[in-house]
């Protein structure tokens, strides 16, 4: 799920950046630091929309670096258990497949793939139905539901299922498996 939230961060800036472009430098460095990162609490920071330095900086004694408290608005992607996501399949092997929803990597094991889809590696590895109507292989778009997550300090990965109504391969003309 996506959220637009306000976050805070203390930036450390080298004295050489002091000058008329201080604010720009601060913004630039913040984007560098946080965009694309993930923290366990808020999820993946997708984009910073607004940067708002709060008050003046404080020079740390000894190093000369300056601490700026900054608050910023950010668009974050935080997956939840039970959430339904649309993903692109990246790798298929006999144990299941990996899919990505943006920065989130999801593994769908063959326990959580409907029984009528079987693994086939004669050509491109895929899970397909006997009739060949359904076929999940690399680059296929799938709709899946998250059943469990592992949340680390710097990463989130998830286990998903497509064994439920309206989950599975996404097609323009179909409503799901």
């Amino acid at each position: 799920m996506f959220f637009h939230i306000v976050l805070e961060r203390t930036m450390l800036l080298h004295p050489r950046f002091f000058g008329p472009k201080l604010r720009d430098t601060l913004t630039h460095q913040l984007l560098q630091d946080v965009e694309g990162r993930c923290d366990g609490k808020n999820g993946f920071i997708v984009a910073v929309t607004n940067v708002d330095p709060k008050g003046s900086g404080e020079i740390t004694s000894g190093t000369g670096m300056v601490k700026f408290p900054v608050s910023y608005n950010a668009l974050v992607f935080r997956p939840f258990k039970g959430e339904v996501l649309e993903c692109v399949v990246t790798q298929v092997f006999k144990m299941g497949f990996f899919a990505e929803a943006g920065p989130l990597q999801v593994f769908v094991s063959n326990h959580l793939i409907p029984d009528d889809l079987t693994f086939d590696s004669t050509q491109e590895p895929c899970f397909k139905s006997d009739t060949g109507e359904w076929r999940i292989q690399k680059e296929t778009e799938v709709r899946l539901k998250i059943v469990g997550m592992r949340i680390d300090a710097t990463n989130i990965s998830a286990i998903g299922t497509i064994k439920d109504d309206f989950l599975g391969e996404i097609r323009d003309d179909a409503t799901g498996t």
Binding site: K81, M95, T118, I159
Partner: protein
């Protein structure tokens, strides 16, 4: 447990139902606690179940190496057998079937801290993947079922010295590097393009990222291509993961043959020996010792020593292929022979039969066919009255190859394996026109999977001291396009475009071409003196030899056709030259043995 009806719905032909029967029997096994065994099924398959139990025990033994499996097995009673599709329906966690990133792959719960059950880590599939022993077992059975339905078997191949030979750049002397650059056109592109380019025909690669030279064994591409149709291939190597994957890319740029099935040292459950988590059926390796439990599944191939350092590593004397400026022959090299054997085993395995086939038995019977009809007697191999002659390695080897061994010569004896030319049995054999061969003849038969030519293994008085370790594969010369040396040696060697290296080691041809030791020279003059007499000896053995010479010539001529003659000599002249030389060699051999 699946009943037989649900296990066989897809069987359409006779064969399919046999596989289903095999699987059913295998799944019937109550290793993992299936309660309602189909008694009738057990009875009807009691015969083949003996074999299958062996297999299962073997799997059990392998699995048992991973610690704490007992724990898993005790939990597994409510896990249904995997006969029906994936058997997922009744799956309720716990027990968790496996973990990815330490969360259960079925229910998504985090792995508990106190859950110290060590599953089978499938790191070659994905870094964080780990499955329980029960799940691994289920996967194994599923895989086997699918594979047999496709009429495929498993083939586990080794990389180093089997399919290729690599060396560090630092271990290639400048002279060798110069030779390699001029005689071959090494490919430096890495990763290789999906389709091998024209100059990759040379199969020599220089890999700066790994600082390696790698030479693929001749015929390897054709070998893999054909084997892929019959087998699901796994690469299993003691090398580093990075290296293994790079080599797999070289062998299979498209990723179609191996896919993710590359298992390297880090992925192996044990460091010292290779052990399989998958129930692999045929194994193709150069080292027997690393497969202590799977000897019966193993095809051993002669080691491929292309680079100088490779021979040294094994402490072998003699020249590597680079030093000798040779390479294995593509059409008749070691891989060619193994491929034929693999095809035979595959065809045999899937041939219609009453009982389900066991690949180990098939392999053993193919092996027994190699020397069937031969009656072998050993001379000076073990002391007379040696009580345990049946357990002597050579005795075992000859028996495995299908030969009948006996302690004393009989009328049926066809071969005398001897280490000295002057023993009583050897003399008898020569008088009776039987073959007298060195023990390496058996090694050669075993490694090349063919009845080796006895002529290549004559017992000469000083064969032990002649140095080089055996090389059985047929080789071809691979010289620089513009040879710098124009000495007499060089021109002489050009006649010998193709030869069996072991034959060369035996002496005569080497003596004839490059001078050799004084001893050999003496032999040669002796031989020339007696040549006339020898030519006229028209006994059976002489005819045999003549036949062999002609056979040899045929193959020589074939290969000569591929090689460009530097001397500009026509093929027919060469052939004549070969003919006379070969004859001379054969007579020398006679002389030597007498």
């Amino acid at each position: 447990m699946a009943d037989s009806d649900s296990a066989q719905p897809t069987s359409s032909s006779e064969n399919d139902s046999e596989f289903a029967a095999l699987l059913e029997a295998e799944l019937d096994k109550d290793d993992w606690g299936s309660e309602d065994q189909n008694a009738a099924g057990v009875d009807s398959h009691s015969h083949e179940r003996v074999d299958i139990e062996d297999v299962d025990n073997q799997i059990g033994a392998q699995v048992a190496e991973a610690p704490l499996i007992g724990h898993a097995a005790s939990q597994a009673v409510d896990e249904p057998g995997g006969a029906e599709g994936k058997g997922k329906e009744a799956g309720i966690c716990p027990p968790h079937p496996g973990y990815m990133w330490n969360i259960c792959i079925r229910c998504g719960k985090a792995k508990e801290e106190d859950d110290d059950e060590k599953g089978v880590a499938l790191r070659y599939l994905h870094q964080g993947l780990e499955v329980s022993a029960v799940e691994a077992d289920r996967l194994r059975k599923d895989d086997l079922q699918k594979l047999l339905a496709q009429k495929k078997l498993y083939l586990v191949v080794d990389l180093d010295h089997t399919l290729l030979n690599s060396t560090r750049m630092a271990e290639v002397p400048d002279s060798d590097a110069a030779y390699l650059r001029s005689a071959y056109s090494p490919t430096t592109v890495f990763p290789p393009a999906a389709a091998p380019s024209a100059n990759e025909d040379d199969l020599l690669y220089q890999l700066p990222p790994l600082s390696m030279w790698t030479k693929l064994r001749p015929f390897v591409r054709e070998f893999l291509e054909e084997a892929a149709g019959l087998f699901e291939m796994y690469v299993y190597t003691m090398g580093e993961k990075l290296y293994a994957q790079a080599m797999a890319r070289l062998l299979d740029p498209s990723g179609r043959l191996f896919g993710e099935r590359v298992i390297s040292q880090q992925d192996s459950t044990s460091r010292k020996t290779k052990d399989l988590d998958v129930f692999a059926v045929l194994i193709f390796d150069d080292t027997e010792a690393v497969w202590p439990k799977n000897r019966a599944n193993l095809l051993v191939i002669e080691r491929y020593h292309f680079f100088r350092s490779s021979r040294r590593q094994f402490g072998l004397p003699g020249e590597s292929l680079v030093e000798a400026k040779k390479d294995e022959c593509s059409e008749e090299g070691a891989l060619r022979g193994i491929l034929d054997t693999l095809k035979t085993v595959h065809a045999d395995f899937f041939a219609p039969r009453t009982a389900p086939a066991d690949v180990r038995q098939v392999l053993a019977s193919v092996r027994r066919g190699i020397l069937s009809g031969c009656h072998v007697v050993f001379s000076r191999i073990f002391p007379q009255g040696f009580p345990h002659h049946e357990s002597h390695p050579l005795w075992i080897r000859a028996t495995e190859l299908g030969a009948t061994c006996s302690l004393n010569v009989t009328l049926e004896t066809t071969h005398v394996v001897a280490v000295e030319p002057g023993t009583e049995k050897a003399r008898w054999a020569r008088a009776e026109g039987k073959f007298v061969v060195r023990p390496e003849w058996l090694d050669c038969c075993q490694l090349t999977w063919s009845h080796a030519r006895e002529e290549d293994f004559p017992v000469l008085p000083d064969w032990r001291t002649r140095g080089a370790a055996p090389e059985f594969a047929r080789t071809v010369d691979r010289k620089e396009p513009e040879p710098e040396t124009s000495s007499a040696d060089g021109t002489d060697e050009s006649d010998e475009d193709v030869e069996v290296t072991d034959g060369e080691r035996a002496g005569p041809s080497e003596a004839a071409t490059s001078g050799g030791s004084g001893d050999e020279k003496r032999e040669r003059t002796d031989d020339e003196r007696e040549e006339g007499d020898a030519k006229q000896s028209g006994d059976a053995r002489g005819e045999d030899r003549q036949q062999a010479v002609e056979n040899g010539l045929a193959s020589v001529a074939r290969s000569v056709g591929n090689e460009e003659s530097r001397e500009g000599a026509t093929e027919s002249t060469q052939r004549t030259e070969h003919a006379s030389k070969r004859q001379k060699q054969e007579h020398e051999v006679d002389e030597g043995t007498l």
